[in-house]
C-alpha cells in the first residue's frame, strides 16, 4: 500500500549522519543513535505541505519546498534554515508570532561532549525566508533539548511553548523522587509563556507552573491533549529509564499538577516517543508510548532480563517511582482521564523493537485509526553476549574504557546491529490492531527509522509518510491505498493562534464518531501539518462536525459534504462549550456509596514474596485474599460480614450497625490466629441451630505443609451473634488451600463443605488434594473418602462452586484452578463422578455458576488469565509448565514455556533461568547459543523425567450447559480479557459484573492492572455477549464481589487485596 519513493524522483536527498568525533559515540552519549526529526507544514500557504528535516550534525538540516506530484526543492540555503547547532534534535512547526505563517522551531542537544548550540526559532518572513529569533524571544534554550510543543495553555489566544529536555546524569545511582525538585540548567523541561504582545518575549514560568526542571527527566516524548475533557490542555511527558512518565493536568489557573499516580497503573519503562489520540473512537484521547521490546524470540532472549521483583521494588517503588514495564504501552482512556488501561499486549502492539515515533492516523481512510511506529537502533548495547565481550575486552586492553578511540572502535564494532523496519498496524476502533507491515509495504525495509510525520503530500486524499533515518536517505512513503473518501479540516484561528492548535473536532457519520484534537508536535522529535485528516470510508456526507476552540467557543456544522478540504473559521464560533451537556456521562448501573460507610477494617497484605522462596514460580500465590463471607449473624436484620486477612493482619468479623457502620466484633477470637493467612470464608448453619456458623480457609503459599498456621478455623455461633472456636470439629488440613463452597451434597439435611487445595509452598506445580468435608449433622466434619469422591490429586485449585448442573436434584461441583482443566463432579446420591471439560486447561481464578441464557439449566462463568498478557500475545499454542527437581537438590523447579508455531520457548531468558538452575550453565556459555532456540535445546539431556502441566486456554469464558452433560464454551468479550478475573456477580436485570487484576508478577510479566470492574450482558436472542460500562475510578486487585442485604436494599461489596472495601448500590 505504501511505496517508497527514491530521492532521484523526489529530490529529497536528506541523510542524517550523526556527527562522529573522539569522545562522541554511543559509548559516551547515551542518545547518540536517537536520530533526527521531521516537521511537515505548508510554509508558504500554497496548499502543499513542505518538509523540514533535522540532522545530528552542524548545518545539515534541510527544508524542502513541495512543488506537487512528489517533487521537492531543497530551499535550505535560500531560506537560511540549515541550523547552527552542532547537533539538532526535535523540530516542530507552529505560527509562533501569530502572523499566519508557519515558523520552524529546532531543538539542539548541547553543553556536553563538546557539542555547542542553542534551540533555534526560524520565524517565517514570507517569501521563503526565515530569521532565527530564538534569542529575541527568549526561546534560545541551550542544553539537552529533545523537542518543543506549542499550545495555548492559558487560553489567552497565543501559543506558549513547552520544552522537552533529556538528561545525561548517570542513572545507575537511583535517587528518590524528591530529586525532581532540584533545578538543572541543561536538563529538566521548561514551560515558557508567550508574552510577545506584552514584552516581546516568552517568559519562563516553569517553576510557578509546577513543571519539574530536574536532571531526573529523560524526556523523549511529548504529547499535548485535553485528557480529562475539562477544556484545558494537559501535558504527557515520556521519560526514559527509571523516571516514570509525567502526566501534568492543567488546573486552568496557570498551573500544572503532575497526577499520573492517580490515573495510571503503570507506564512504559524506557519511554521514547508517544502519541495522544482517540484510537477507539469513543471521544477520549488515549496515549501510546513506545519502548524497546523486541518482537522476535532470538533478539528478545539476548537482552538482559528485567530485574527480579525484590530489586525492582527497591529501585523503583521504594524510591517513589511508579510501576513501569519494558514494552510499548497503549493506554486506553477509560473516560475523562479518570483512569487508563494499558492494553498494548492484547492489542498486539507491545513489541516493535527499539521504537521511536508512534503516530495514530487513518491511513486507509476506513474511519478507524491505524498506528505507525518507526523503529531500529544502529547498535544494541543491551545484548548480553556483547556485554560479556566488552567486559573481557576491558581486561585485555591495557587502558581504561574512556581513553583510546581504537578501543572505542573495537567496542562499538562488536555491538550487535539493531536494524528494524517501520511498522504499520491497522486498527479496528476496538481493542486490537493487526500488523500490516507486510501488506502495506514496510516489512522488508531495513534500517534505523527515527522521527516521522505524515501528511497528504500529493493531495490525493491519502496520508503519506516521511521518515528521518540514520545513515540512510530519508524515506518518503507514498500512500497508494484504494481510494476511499476522506476530509482534511483546516482550522483558522481568530487570534494569534492562527492555525487553531488545540482545537477539537468531533465528526459524526452514520451514528459513528471520530475525535481529534489538533496538535502538531507528535510521535518523536517531529511534527505533522496543522490539518486534521478524517477517513470517511464511503460516506459522502458528514452528519455533523462539532468544533471546539481553545477559548471554548464552539460551532456545529451539519450535513457537511465530504469535500477533500474545508477550512473552518473561529470567527464563526460562539458560546461556551459545556462538555457534559454535549457528552453526558451515561448513567452508571452502580452508585458508589463507599463514603457513606465507616468500616473498621482494611485488608493489609504481608510483604512475603513467593519468588524469594521458589525462584521460578510463575507468579505469586500468596495474595489470594481477601474474600468476604456474608450473613446476618445476630439476626438484627442487617447483614454482617467476615473479611479474610493476610498473615499478621488477621481477618475480622464486622457487625453491621445502622447508618452504614461495620464494627469489628470478637476480635480476640479472630486475632488468636493472626499468623495464619485466611483466603476464603463462608457462613453456614453447620449445626442446624438456626444460627450462621463460620468456616475460614487458611492458605498463603508461605509456610510449609504441616505448619499449624495452615489449619482452617471453624467457629460456632452461640446464638447471640458471637462465636467460639470449634476447630476441633474439623479435620486439620495443614496445607495451603484456596477456597470453600457449601452444599448439602448428600442431602441428609445438613451442609457439607468443599475445600480446595492450592500448592505446596516449596513444590509449586505438584497437584494437591482437595477435600469434601462431610457434616455429621451437628457440625462435626470428616473428610469424604475415595468412595464418595476422588480428590487425591485434583490439582492447583483456586475456585469452586456447587450447582445442580444436570438437574437430578443433587448438587454437582465445578472446580477451577491453574494448570488444570475445569472439572465437573456430577453428584448422584451423594457420590461424585469426575468429568473434566475437554481442552480447558487454563489459569482459572474464579467460577460463578449462573443461568446465563435463562433456559433453566445452570451455566457458569469462569475467570481466566486473559489476553492482555505476554503469555497470550503473539502465542498460538499451549502454555506449558515443566516441573522437576532439575538439579537434584530436593527442591522442585518450574520452567514455564509458551508455544509459537509449534515450538516451545522458555518464558524466561537464560540469564534468569541460570540464576535458579546453575546447572544450565554447563552446556552453553553464550546467550546467543540458546536465544531463539526451543526449551528442549536449552535443557539438552536435562529435559526428561519432568512432569508437564499445561494451560491451553487463557480466555475468560462462559460455559453454557447444553443439558446433555456437556458445555459449550464462549469467549467473554475482549473488554473482559484485560486482566485475570477473580470475581463475578450477577444483577437482577440479567447483567453481570466482572472484576480482577493481579499485581503478584515478576516485572518481566508486568502487573495486570488494566481491568476495571466491567459490566457485560448476554443477549439471549443472538446468543452473544457484549461488554458494557466499567467503573473507571476503581483501581486495585478485586478479589471478591458480595451482596449484602440492608433493610431490603441490596448493596454490593467489592473487596480488594491490600486495600479498603468499596460499597455500591444498583440504580
Amino acid at each position: 500500500m505504501f511505496k517508497s519513493l527514491p530521492a532521484s524522483q523526489t529530490k529529497v536527498d536528506f541523510v542524517n549522519n550523526p556527527e562522529s568525533r573522539d569522545g562522541l559515540s554511543i559509548l559516551y552519549y547515551l542518545y547518540y543513535y536517537n536520530g533526527g526529526g521531521v516537521a511537515i507544514g505548508d510554509i508558504n500557504n500554497d496548499g502543499l505541505q513542505d518538509i523540514y528535516f533535522s540532522a545530528n550534525a552542524k548545518g545539515k538540516n534541510k527544508l524542502y519546498l513541495n512543488k506537487g506530484h512528489f517533487q521537492f526543492e531543497d530551499i535550505t540555503d535560500k531560506a537560511g534554515v540549515a541550523g547552527t547547532a552542532d547537533w539538532s534534535t526535535g523540530v516542530t512547526m507552529a505560527d509562533v508570532n501569530g502572523d499566519g505563517l508557519l515558523d520552524i522551531y529546532v531543538c539542539a542537544s548541547s553543553q556536553h561532549h563538546g557539542l555547542k548550540g542553542e534551540n533555534q526559532l526560524f520565524i517565517n518572513n514570507g517569501n521563503l525566508k526565515f530569521s532565527d529569533s530564538a534569542k529575541k524571544y527568549n526561546l534560545n534554550f541551550s542544553g539537552l533539548g529533545t523537542q518543543a510543543a506549542f499550545f495555548d495553555y492559558d487560553h489567552d489566544g497565543d501559543l506558549d511553548c513547552y520544552l522537552l529536555n533529556h538528561s545525561l546524569k548517570p542513572h545507575q545511582n537511583i535517587k528518590d523522587t524528591s530529586a525532581r525538585e532540584v533545578y538543572d540548567s541543561i536538563s529538566g523541561d521548561r514551560l515558557l509563556r508567550n508574552d510577545l504582545s506584552a514584552t516581546g518575549t516568552f517568559t519562563d514560568v516553569s517553576k510557578e507552573a509546577g513543571i519539574y526542571q530536574s536532571s531526573l527527566g529523560y524526556g523523549l516524548g511529548i504529547a499535548i491533549a485535553d485528557f480529562n475533557n475539562d477544556g484545558w490542555d494537559d501535558i504527557y511527558v515520556g521519560n526514559d529509564f527509571h523516571e516514570n512518565d509525567y502526566y501534568y493536568l492543567n488546573t486552568g489557573q496557570g498551573k500544572f499538577i503532575e497526577s499520573g499516580a492517580n490515573h495510571f497503573g503503570h507506564y512504559s519503562r524506557f519511554s521514547m516517543g508517544n502519541d495522544a489520540a482517540d484510537f477507539n473512537n469513543d471521544g477520549q484521547p488515549d496515549i501510546f508510548t513506545a519502548d524497546m521490546l523486541p518482537p522476535d524470540e532470538k533478539t528478545l532472549k539476548t537482552y538482559g532480563s528485567d530485574e527480579n521483583l525484590s530489586t525492582y521494588k527497591f529501585k523503583l517503588t521504594s524510591h517513589g517511582y511508579q510501576d513501569q514495564v519494558s514494552r510499548n504501552c497503549l493506554q486506553r482512556n477509560n473516560g475523562n482521564g479518570d483512569s487508563y488501561s494499558d492494553i498494548a499486549l492484547q492489542a498486539g502492539v507491545s513489541a516493535t523493537d527499539w521504537s521511536w515515533a508512534p503516530l495514530f492516523a487513518d491511513f486507509d481512510n476506513d474511519g478507524k485509526k491505524d498506528l505507525f511506529i518507526s523503529s531500529g537502533i544502529v547498535k544494541r548495547p543491551v545484548d548480553l553476549d556483547y556485554i560479556r565481550f566488552v567486559s573481557n575486552l576491558s581486561l585485555k586492553v591495557p587502558e581504561n574504557l574512556n581513553s583510546t578511540s581504537k578501543y572505542d572502535a573495537m567496542a562499538i564494532k562488536e555491538m550487535p546491529d539493531g536494524a528494524s523496519h517501520p511498522y504499520f498496524f491497522k486498527g479496528d476502533a476496538g481493542l486490537s490492531f493487526i500488523d500490516v507491515s507486510e501488506a502495506w509495504g514496510t516489512e522488508n525495509m531495513k534500517g534505523y527509522f527515527n522521527g516521522a510525520a505524515y501528511a497528504d503530500l500529493d493531495l490525493d486524499g491519502n496520508l503519506d509518510m516521511v521518515i528521518n533515518c540514520i545513515n540512510a536517505p530519508a524515506v518518503i512513503l507514498q500512500n497508494k491505498a484504494p481510494q476511499k473518501l476522506s476530509i482534511d479540516i483546516k482550522l483558522k484561528g481568530s487570534d494569534k493562534n492562527t492555525f487553531g492548535i488545540g482545537a477539537k473536532v468531533w465528526l459524526f457519520v452514520k451514528g459513528k464518531m471520530q475525535f481529534q484534537q489538533l496538535q502538531t508536535s507528535r510521535g518523536f522529535m517531529s511534527s505533522c501539518a496543522p490539518v486534521l485528516h478524517f477517513g470517511l470510508d464511503s460516506s459522502r456526507i458528514i452528519d455533523s462536525l462539532l468544533v471546539v476552540w481553545p477559548n471554548q467557543k464552539y460551532q456545529v456544522l451539519k450535513n457537511v459534504p465530504g469535500v477533500p478540504v474545508i477550512e473552518i473559521s473561529q470567527n464563526n464560533a460562539g458560546g461556551v462549550f459545556n462538555y457534559r451537556s454535549y457528552f453526558p456521562p451515561p448513567p452508571s448501573p452502580l452508585l458508589d456509596i463507599t463514603s457513606t460507610f465507616r468500616v473498621g477494617f482494611t485488608h493489609r497484605e504481608n510483604s512475603f514474596l513467593d519468588f524469594n522462596k521458589q525462584y521460578l514460580i510463575p507468579h505469586m500465590e500468596s495474595t489470594r485474599g481477601p474474600k468476604v463471607a456474608v450473613a446476618d449473624v445476630n439476626k438484627d436484620g442487617l447483614d454482617d460480614i467476615f473479611v479474610c486477612g493476610a498473615s499478621g493482619n488477621p481477618g475480622q468479623l464486622l457487625i453491621q450497625k445502622p447508618a452504614h457502620q461495620f464494627s469489628p466484633s470478637d476480635t480476640a477470637l479472630f486475632n488468636a490466629s493472626r499468623e495464619s493467612e485466611s483466603v476464603d470464608a463462608v457462613f453456614f448453619d453447620a449445626n442446624k441451630d438456626g444460627w450462621p456458623d463460620l468456616y475460614v480457609v487458611a492458605g498463603g503459599n508461605q509456610v510449609n505443609d504441616g505448619d499449624p498456621r495452615l489449619a482452617d478455623r471453624f467457629y460456632l455461633n452461640d446464638g447471640k451473634g458471637h462465636f467460639t472456636d470449634a476447630s476441633a470439629k474439623i479435620p486439620a488440613i495443614l496445607k495451603n488451600k484456596s477456597c470453600v463452597a457449601v452444599a448439602d451434597m448428600d442431602k441428609d439435611g445438613d451442609e457439607d463443605l468443599f475445600v480446595g487445595g492450592l500448592a505446596n509452598a516449596t513444590q509449586f506445580g505438584i497437584p494437591q488434594p482437595s477435600y469434601i468435608l462431610v457434616n455429621n449433622g451437628s457440625g462435626m466434619f470428616t473428610g469424604a473418602g475415595k468412595n464418595i469422591i476422588n480428590l487425591d490429586s485434583t490439582g492447583i485449585v483456586t475456585s469452586a462452586g456447587f450447582a445442580d448442573l444436570d438437574k437430578n436434584g443433587w448438587p454437582d461441583l465445578v472446580v477451577g484452578g491453574e494448570w488444570m482443566p475445569l472439572k465437573v463432579f456430577y453428584n448422584t446420591n451423594g457420590k461424585f463422578r469426575e468429568a473434566d471439560l475437554p481442552k480447558t486447561t487454563g489459569l482459572w481464578q474464579s467460577i460463578y455458576p449462573t443461568d446465563v441464557n435463562g433456559d433453566g439449566l445452570i451455566d457458569f462463568l469462569a475467570g481466566n488469565w486473559g489476553h492482555n498478557s505476554k503469555l497470550w500475545a503473539g502465542k498460538n499454542g499451549p502454555l506449558k509448565l515443566y516441573i522437576k527437581d532439575f538439579d537434584n537438590n530436593g527442591a522442585v523447579e518450574q520452567v514455564m514455556c509458551y508455544t509459537i508455531n509449534g515450538e516451545e520457548y522458555t518464558f524466561l531468558a537464560k540469564d534468569e533461568l541460570e540464576r535458579a538452575l546453575p546447572v544450565l550453565k554447563k552446556a552453553y556459555l553464550h546467550y546467543s547459543d540458546v536465544a531463539g532456540k526451543t526449551v528442549q535445546y536449552m535443557f539438552y539431556d536435562l529435559f526428561k523425567g519432568f512432569r508437564e502441566l499445561k494451560a491451553e486456554l487463557l480466555t475468560s469464558s462462559c460455559f453454557i450447559n447444553d443439558g446433555k452433560g456437556g458445555f459449550l464454551r464462549q469467549d467473554l468479550p475482549d473488554a473482559l480479557q484485560l486482566s485475570p478475573i477473580f470475581s463475578f456477580t450477577g444483577f437482577s436485570n440479567g447483567s453481570y459484573l466482572a472484576a480482577g487484576n493481579f499485581y503478584g508478577t515478576i516485572p518481566y510479566e508486568g502487573p495486570y492492572d488494566a481491568l476495571f470492574p466491567t459490566f457485560m450482558n448476554y443477549n439471549k436472542d443472538t446468543q452473544k455477549w457484549a461488554s458494557g460500562q466499567l467503573i473507571s475510578n476503581l483501581p486495585g486487585e478485586v478479589r471478591d464481589l458480595k451482596w449484602i442485604n440492608q433493610s431490603g436494599k441490596n448493596i454490593l461489596i467489592l473487596a480488594r487485596n491490600n486495600d479498603s472495601l468499596r460499597f455500591f448500590q444498583p440504580q
Binding site: P170, N173, N308, T311, F314, S607, Y615, N889, K922
Partner: protein, 444 residues
C-alpha cells in the same frame, strides 16, 4: 608452551614401598607448575563470575584433592582426614609407579572444574598436562597416575557434596525491607544479597559457623552526633572526600571485586578482576616461589590458605546475615549527601563484618604458619589489571593494609575492618593449628 623446569632433588621422597623410578627428571615436580595450575582455575572462576564466597569452595576442595595426593607419599604432610570435618581417609591406594605430582595436578583440576561452567572448562589446560606427561612418562605410569588422581578426586568430590552447598542453591532469598539500618541493594547494579544462607555450609575446621561470634556492631544512629555509629559515618565520609593517591592505590590494590558493573546509558558491562580469594591464592604462589618451597610445601600452603579462607567466609557471612547492616553508601546518600560515592563499588551484601578483611587475616595466619612471620614479599598480583605492585614486610602487614583498603574504598566502616581482622585471625589460627604439618612454624 613448556615451563622452565626446576630440578629439585629434595622432592623425590617416595613411600617405603617404592621401586626404582624412571629417570630423575620429573617435569611435574615443579611448584611453579602447581601455582600456574591454581592460576588457571582462578581464571576460570573469574570468567564464570562466581561470587568470591562460592569461589572459596572451588579453591579449597581442589587444593585438598592435591594435598591428599601428595600426602600419600610425603610424611611431612599427613592426611587431612579426621581433621577436616567429615573427611574420611582415602581408600588404600598403591602409589607404586605413580607420578605423584602429576596425579596431584590432575586431582586438583578434576575437582576444580567439577563445579565450574561450562563443563570441562579446564579441559584444554589438562590436555596440555597430559601431553607433557606423554613426553616424559610411559603409558603405565600415566594410567596409574590418572587412576589414582580419579580416586582421590572422587573421594573429595563426594565429601564436598555433604557441605550443603546444593541445598543453599534454593534457599530463601534475603527479604529487602525498608528499615533504618538494614541492608538494601546498592548501586550501580542493585544486585540481590549474595549468599544469605552461607552460614549453613559445613565448615572444614571450625566446629560451627558461629564458633567465633564478634561483638554486635554499633547501633544505627544518624541523629546523635556523639554516637559511635555517627562518628564512623563521618570518619568514612571525610576519608573518601580527601583520599591521597597512596590511599587510592591501596583501595584499588585490594578491590578484588570480581565483577564491577559500569553503566553508561543503555550500555552496561562488567569489569573483571580477581576475587579476594583469587588474590590471596596468587599471594600463596608468590610466597612459595620466593621461599623456593618444594612441590609438597607449595601444595600444603595452598591447601591451608584456601581452607582458612573457606572457614573465614562462613564465619563472616554468619555475622553479616545476623545483623544485616546497611552499607555506608546507602546511609550517606540518604542522610547526608546524595552525590557521595564510595571510591570502590560496594559489593552486594551487608556491611558487618568485612569479608575481605576477615579472609585476608585468616589467609595471613595460614601463610605465616608455613613461611614464617616477617616474610617480606612483593605482591605483583594486580599488575595484569594495571595496578602497580605493593611490597609488604609480612603477611600480617598485608592483612592490616587490607583493613584500610576497605575503609579507603568507602565500603566498610573502620570499626568493622578492625573487628574483621581480629576474627579472621582467630579462624586462621585455628586452622593453622588443627592442620599443622611438620614444617609448620609456630605462630602467636
Amino acid at each position: 608452551m613448556k615451563q622452565i623446569l626446576i630440578f629439585s632433588v629434595a622432592v623425590f621422597i617416595f613411600s617405603s614401598c617404592s621401586r626404582k623410578e624412571k629417570a630423575t627428571v620429573n617435569p611435574f615436580n615443579d611448584p611453579i607448575l602447581f601455582a600456574k595450575t591454581v592460576k588457571e582455575l582462578n581464571n576460570v572462576v573469574m570468567e564464570n563470575n562466581f561470587s568470591p564466597i562460592v569461589a572459596s569452595r572451588n579453591y579449597a576442595y581442589a587444593s585438598i584433592a592435591a594435598y591428599e595426593t601428595i600426602s600419600l607419599t610425603d610424611p611431612r604432610f599427613p592426611t587431612f582426614s579426621g581433621r577436616l570435618k567429615q573427611l574420611t581417609p582415602l581408600p588404600r591406594l598403591d602409589t607404586n609407579g605413580v607420578n605423584i605430582p602429576y596425579a596431584s595436578l590432575l586431582a586438583f583440576c578434576k575437582v576444580g572444574q567439577s563445579v565450574t561452567f561450562p563443563e570441562g572448562s579446564m579441559k584444554t589446560y589438562v590436555a596440555k598436562l597430559d601431553s607433557m606427561a606423554a613426553e616424559s612418562m610411559d603409558k603405565e605410569e600415566i594410567d596409574k597416575s590418572k587412576n589414582l588422581a580419579d580416586v582421590v578426586a572422587k573421594h573429595i568430590i563426594d565429601w564436598s557434596k555433604g557441605d550443603y552447598y546444593t541445598q543453599t542453591r534454593t534457599a530463601e532469598k534475603y527479604e529487602v525491607k525498608n528499615e533504618e539500618g538494614r541492608w538494601v541493594p546498592t548501586p550501580p547494579a542493585y544486585m540481590e544479597a549474595v549468599e544469605p544462607h552461607w552460614d549453613m555450609i559445613r565448615p572444614m575446621v571450625m566446629d560451627s559457623a558461629d564458633q567465633f561470634v564478634p561483638p554486635a556492631p554499633p547501633a544505627f544512629n544518624v541523629k546523635d552526633t556523639s554516637s559511635k555509629y555517627y562518628k564512623e559515618v563521618m570518619l568514612i565520609k571525610n576519608a573518601i572526600d580527601s583520599l591521597t593517591p597512596e590511599q587510592k592505590h591501596i583501595a584499588d590494590f585490594w578491590d578484588d571485586l570480581g565483577t564491577r558493573t559500569i553503566v553508561k546509558g543503555h550500555v552496561s558491562f562488567l569489569k573483571k578482576k580477581f576475587s579476594p580469594t583469587g588474590h590471596w591464592m596468587n599471594i600463596v604462589g608468590i610466597a612459595a616461589e620466593k621461599d623456593k618451597a618444594d612441590f609438597g610445601t607449595t601444595v600444603y600452603a595452598y591447601a591451608l590458605t584456601s581452607i582458612s579462607m573457606f572457614d573465614a567466609f562462613i564465619q563472616c557471612w554468619d555475622e553479616k546475615y545476623r545483623d544485616n547492616t546497611v552499607r555506608p553508601e546507602t546511609v550517606i546518600n540518604k542522610y547526608f549527601d546524595p552525590e557521595w560515592r564510595p571510591f570502590l563499588e560496594t559489593p552486594p551484601f551487608p556491611e558487618y563484618t568485612c569479608g575481605h578483611s576477615t579472609i585476608s587475616s585468616a589467609a595471613a595466619e595460614a601463610l605465616t604458619s608455613v613461611f614464617g612471620d616477617n616474610f617480606a614479599y612483593t605482591d605483583t598480583s594486580e599488575l595484569e589489571f594495571n595496578i602497580p605492585s605493593r611490597s609488604f614486610p609480612s603477611f600480617r602487614a598485608a592483612a592490616i593494609e587490607n583493613n584500610w583498603a576497605r575503609f579507603y574504598g568507602g565500603i566498610h566502616y573502620h570499626n568493622s575492618c578492625i573487628i574483621s581482622n581480629e576474627y579472621g585471625k582467630k579462624v586462621g589460627d585455628l586452622v593453622a593449628d588443627k592442620l599443622k604439618s611438620s614444617i609448620s612454624k609456630k605462630i602467636n
